[in-house]
């Protein structure tokens, strides 16, 4: 039974300055952002993973397709994985036409998000610079700029003088070991408050009747008719999931996990082209604002932006060896510091306050795996590497459509799992290896 989500519940109060003032004056408290629900024995669809992807998927299932009998399951708390560990950069200046179209849609959805979800996600479109330190990388920047322009995305190559104007703290002289030769400038790129995106989708989905279940770990996926043991594998179909809180029957299971995507998919007998690597990040103590744009250097393996709180947030490339540990390493911060100081020698006295890492599911072609699998009813939205956050809205929208209609929307055709059977990989490597 698919109910109309909008009628499911009484609408909770909207967020606004007036409501803040009213509640402040009266000393009233706000209702819960999402309900605490009892876990039912059956749902129309189960989404595994309560991060931005899973929550966006649930939101769009309800909003666009009227599917509100949906449970989002997370083994920890909402946003505990990559959603809360990324560096919150949003951009659409990809290399392939498929990538550009897809991420352009995502940027568009981010632009509307604050109003649509009625929560301030603080999308700061402050501009995004991808620096080139060699003629080869400058050539790739030009390539990206041309493909971007054809896809209607605002993106161009600028020289050191313009870079200095956009971002005075960068050393654009010829003193560094690898001088800055140019940059791909992408004005719509920027940063978002990542946690607010999680909470916003959760709250909006909750309002339509979707249930969020934290501390609910999926331990198996129940299948029948497949060619593997227990009815799993190709040719079979999903019948439910087993969790630490009991079994749930459902015809649709959507794997929206990161870090654990291959383990979850294996539960349905689906093998993925994924290896899991930690991606580390770090933040400094705050200082007054001085870095107006997001700065990325692929050659130096670093990306950096300054938060509204004044901290510099950094990231780099994934750790070199596959593993599921998120403890972080000293060599990461050492390398990071060296590269940041190559770009901005003036920040030598800033102090690293905290480092952390999250798990990334890397695919061979730096593109995600999305859509239906050989197991009917089991969909994946995985393999997001280091760029999953920026794709969350569009991924949720498209996967919801795939799940609700049984089709494969055009925007995600190129990202099908079957491309690895056919050898038809996506050519995004040049832009995404250290692209944030």
């Amino acid at each position: 039974m698919r109910g109309n989500g909008r009628l499911g519940r009484k609408r909770p109060p909207k967020y606004s300055a007036a409501a803040l003032a009213w509640k402040g004056l009266r000393g009233q408290s706000w209702p819960r952002v999402w309900r605490d629900c009892d876990l039912k024995r059956s749902y129309d669809a189960v989404v595994i993973g309560g991060g931005v992807h899973g929550l966006a998927t649930a939101y769009y299932l309800a909003r666009n397709h009227g599917m509100t009998d949906v449970a989002v399951l997370d083994k920890a708390y909402l946003g505990s994985g990559g959603s809360g560990r990324n560096t919150a950069i949003v951009r659409s200046n990809y290399l392939t036409p498929e990538g550009v179209a897809f991420y352009d849609r995502s940027v568009h959805l981010y632009e509307q998000m604050a109003v649509e979800l009625n929560i301030n996600v603080m999308f700061s479109q402050r501009g995004h610079l991808t620096l080139a330190h060699s003629d080869a990388s400058l050539r790739t920047m030009h390539w990206r700029a041309e493909v971007n322009k054809l896809g209607g995305v605002n993106s161009s190559v600028i020289g050191p003088d313009e870079i200095k104007k956009e971002c005075p703290s960068l050393d654009t002289s010829d003193h560094p070991r690898y001088p800055i030769q140019g940059a791909l400038y992408h004005p719509p790129g920027g940063v978002v408050r990542h946690d607010a995106v999680v909470w916003g989708y959760a709250r909006a989905a909750d309002h339509m009747g979707v249930e969020m279940h934290q501390k609910t770990e999926v331990t198996d996926i129940l299948c029948e008719g497949g060619d593997g043991p227990d009815g799993k594998g190709a040719g079979g179909r999903v019948t439910g999931v087993r969790t630490n809180r009991g079994d749930i029957s459902t015809p649709i299971v959507i794997n929206c996990t990161a870090g654990w995507a291959s383990l979850i998919s294996t539960m349905a007998g689906v093998r993925l082209p994924i290896t899991t690597h930690p991606l580390q990040a770090a933040v400094t103590e705050p200082v007054k604002m001085f870095l107006p744009t997001v700065v990325v250097s692929g050659s130096l393996h670093v990306y950096v932006s300054q938060t509204d709180r004044g901290e510099l947030v950094f990231g780099a490339s994934v750790d070199p060896y596959a593993n599921y540990s998120v403890r972080g390493s000293l060599e990461f911060t050492e390398g990071l510091a060296g590269h940041v100081l190559e770009l901005m020698p003036g920040v030598s006295r800033m102090r690293i306050l905290r480092q952390w890492s999250g798990l990334c599911d890397m695919t061979p072609d730096y593109s995600p795996v999305m859509g239906h699998t050989p197991v009917e009813g089991f969909l994946v939205d995985v393999g997001w590497g280091t760029y999953g956050f920026k794709a969350a809205p569009v991924s949720g929208e498209q996967i919801a459509e795939a799940a609700a209609t049984g089709t494969t929307p055009k925007l995600i055709e190129a990202f099908a799992l079957s491309r690895f059977d056919d050898g038809e990989l996506v050519g995004e490597k040049g832009a995404a290896s250290v692209g944030h």
Binding site: W30, S80, T284, K288, G430
Partner: protein, 953 residues
Amino acid sequence: MTMSRQGVQPTEVIDRAAKLRFRWNGKRFSGFEGDTIASALAAAGEHIFSRSMKYHRPRGILTADYWDPNLMVQVGDDPNVRAGHRLLESGMDVRSQNAWPSLNRDIKAANSLLGRFLTAGFYYKTFMRPQWLWPTYERVLATFAPGGKIDLDTPHAYHDKRYTHPDVVVAGAGPAGISAALAASSAGASVLLVSHEHAVGGHLRYSSDAADQAALTELRAALDASDVEVLTDSTVTGRYEDNWLGIVQRNHPIAVERLIKARAKTLVAAPGLIERPYVFEGNDRPGVITPGAARRLINLWGVKPGERAVVFSANADGDAAVADLERVGTEIAAVIDGRTGGSVSSTAGSSRAVEAVMVNGTNGAERIDADLLVVAAGWTAPTSLLNMAGDRPIYDPTAARFFPSDPPSNVLATGGLAGDADLDGLRQHGAATGRLAAARAAAVRHRLQSRTARALPVDGDEPAWAPDERAPLGRDPHPELYRADTHGMVDMSEDISSKDLVAAAHEGYDSVELAKRYTTATMGPSQGKLETVNTVAAIAEARGETISEVGTTVWRPPYAPLTLGALAGRMFEPVRVSSIQPWHEANNVSVIQAGQWLRPDHYGDPAAEVRNVRDNVGLIDVTPLGKLDLRGPDVPKLLSLLYVNKWMKLGVGRVRYGMMCAEDGVVLDDGVTGRLGEDHYMMSTTSSGAGGVWEWVENWLQTERPDWQVHVTPVTTAYASINVAGPKSRELMSRVCEDADLDAEAFPYMTVRQATVAGVEDCFMWRIGFTGELSFELHVPAGHGLHVWEALMDAGSDLGVGPFGLEGQRIMRLEKGHFIVGQDTDGLTLGPSTGLWSLIKLDKDDFAGKPELAWAADRSLPMVVAIQPDDPDVVPEEAAQIVRGNTNEILGRITSSRYSPTLNRSICLGQVEPDLAAGGTKLTVLLESGERIGATVIDHHAHFDPAGERLRG
């Protein structure tokens, strides 16, 4: 609160004879050597040091140590300096950070009035509309960013790094830590003792107790007499895999800050305990301090913290503070005992100072006038290093703090982290921990040595892993004091109150992580060392659960912040140049970065360089070209396996071009390989591929074909490589080459010869040419590169010999239609896309990528083609897209383009859809300017001399 310097204290660390002058917000101040910035200011009567982040409330001393969130200041160009820890230096320019226009009058303090609206996370609920105004809102919010200012001209000063491999590292130099270090050292271990403070001793330093002072003297003497290496003002910031430790040394004599990397065989964590603030109304008013702050001010720096004090004490530290305060003449208005149910509910006064305290003691509720409130409410166990080692500490409600659960066996806790005892008990536990650490370190040392094949042999069997037989420390009962019956600040640096946390929990942000993220509690400079447990307590209270049920958050590295400068160190970035570089530099070279290499790009006029090669003869330094010396009977099999073409019948003295594909069929590298002798081959790779191909070769040999006899030696930098190209190259070579017949029949195209060149023996040269001209590629022992280059220049002066650079070579190779792997191909370009179908020999039994290349015949693949714009004067950019007519549909792209000085027209290589690859196909190229131009695919890749007559000449 009135603070002032008192008479000499027996334990003080200041040198009253050494007066230091400094500035505070522009005004002149002075202090003594041994003062911290904060103690000097406090001694001078200052009591406001900063303003809070959101409400801009005045903030005074809280803990008077490194973790004090209220003592963040700017010193010169150094932001966020901890004034509670940083030692005063003469001439310091100290400024407050988060106040405008001044610390005393701060406009944003008006925000306090809006407190009820500015609840934690309020910004998520507003500023959504109108959307276009958000950037403006954002700029305003950003002005609330706390912290100091950076000066973008700050130089990256000297920072070195140190590596050390001690048996035992002891983190923390209180009595337990010192005892551990001494015992480990006595047991024969090499020991590094790391003291966060400026001197060892931990809490003994600021104790006025005679027994404590005697013990401190004794421990220091023992350390002096031992082999223990002591680092002061240094912190173990992180424990990483296999006890890899980051240590920041802040008092290095030369480096501003130094990172020490220690591979400890065992780590002893003895960081002591951190005083936990108590949450009640007005707990952030200047004048509310911890007992540690009071005792440090009095005993270390001779500063009286106030005139009339209320002490809320729930432990011995609070009691000791009473004694110390009385000794310096602070009137004790009341002692409220937290162990017997006494409590503090609020302070009263102005925003700038405590004037009275509301207590609930033995006399019931009363208001007591005081300018100082000392609150001894308990401790937080800084379990960071244990967390980093994977431990999840467990809360003990009877002792009101967390304790280690099950750290890995090469990480041992002692001191307050492990439990409570009197001084002797702490020393005994420390010593037992040190002995255990030494015994386990000995086992690890033995193992490391015995597992290293080429290390010195190690005697005997590996010592058994020593069992932990330490008598555990006790746990003193302590009341659970987190929040009084009023609400107050939980996070001073973020302005987050217990009310905010409770509201957040009720709103659904009811796990610690969610609440932290929503409210930003614990995100400030001490990263929760003061705030975390109170945060957990507030959430627990809101949920009606215990602290154990709510659990704690994971403490992440670093334990203490460290500068980017220290982490970066000296920033060594190697530069590679050939032995001929001095000549290039003396001859107006313009260099290009190619990975780590600096290569000659041109010498002023690349077009002229091209013409000179086409007309006369030119030299190019191609030293970075990858070179692998391959020897052994199975080399032909190896070449056949790695290249797509055939190699079994290459004769001695012959050279062949080969293309390598990866197992997915994608072009990996290309180059020529020559057979120098019966079992001796030289493989060349692209310059950028040199390292990767070497590993690729080793991988195949070692993992797939370990039975093959091939020895691989990388010789890229063992030879300087010079390509001599042009119609007069044979004439030039004949003048310098003494023992080889250079005649076209004797030394034809695609052959290799060994020769003596310009008197240099053991050179080899092959007749190949990327430029399309008659050419000789010379490889001379690297040390003789410059000599041979100069000899060629001298010998050919009458032939018009000149240098040419990479740019000239690129033009000429493009004229010849040679593709460059990685430029004209990309990460998805399969072998056949290069147009070299005939090179791929699918009848070979096996070679890398064979199945994909076989199946590629049935696939629709983009093709590399040569393209000429219809307008010969227009050079499309490398990256210009090839589109369908006036649409935006992408059909390919230009991968290389130049203006050809030989043909006087623009020439290109590009990748296009397969149905556009035939010669004569008309294309539309979209220039960066937006203009669309016509272009035509030509029949073959070579724009110039397609028959190859010149290079065979």
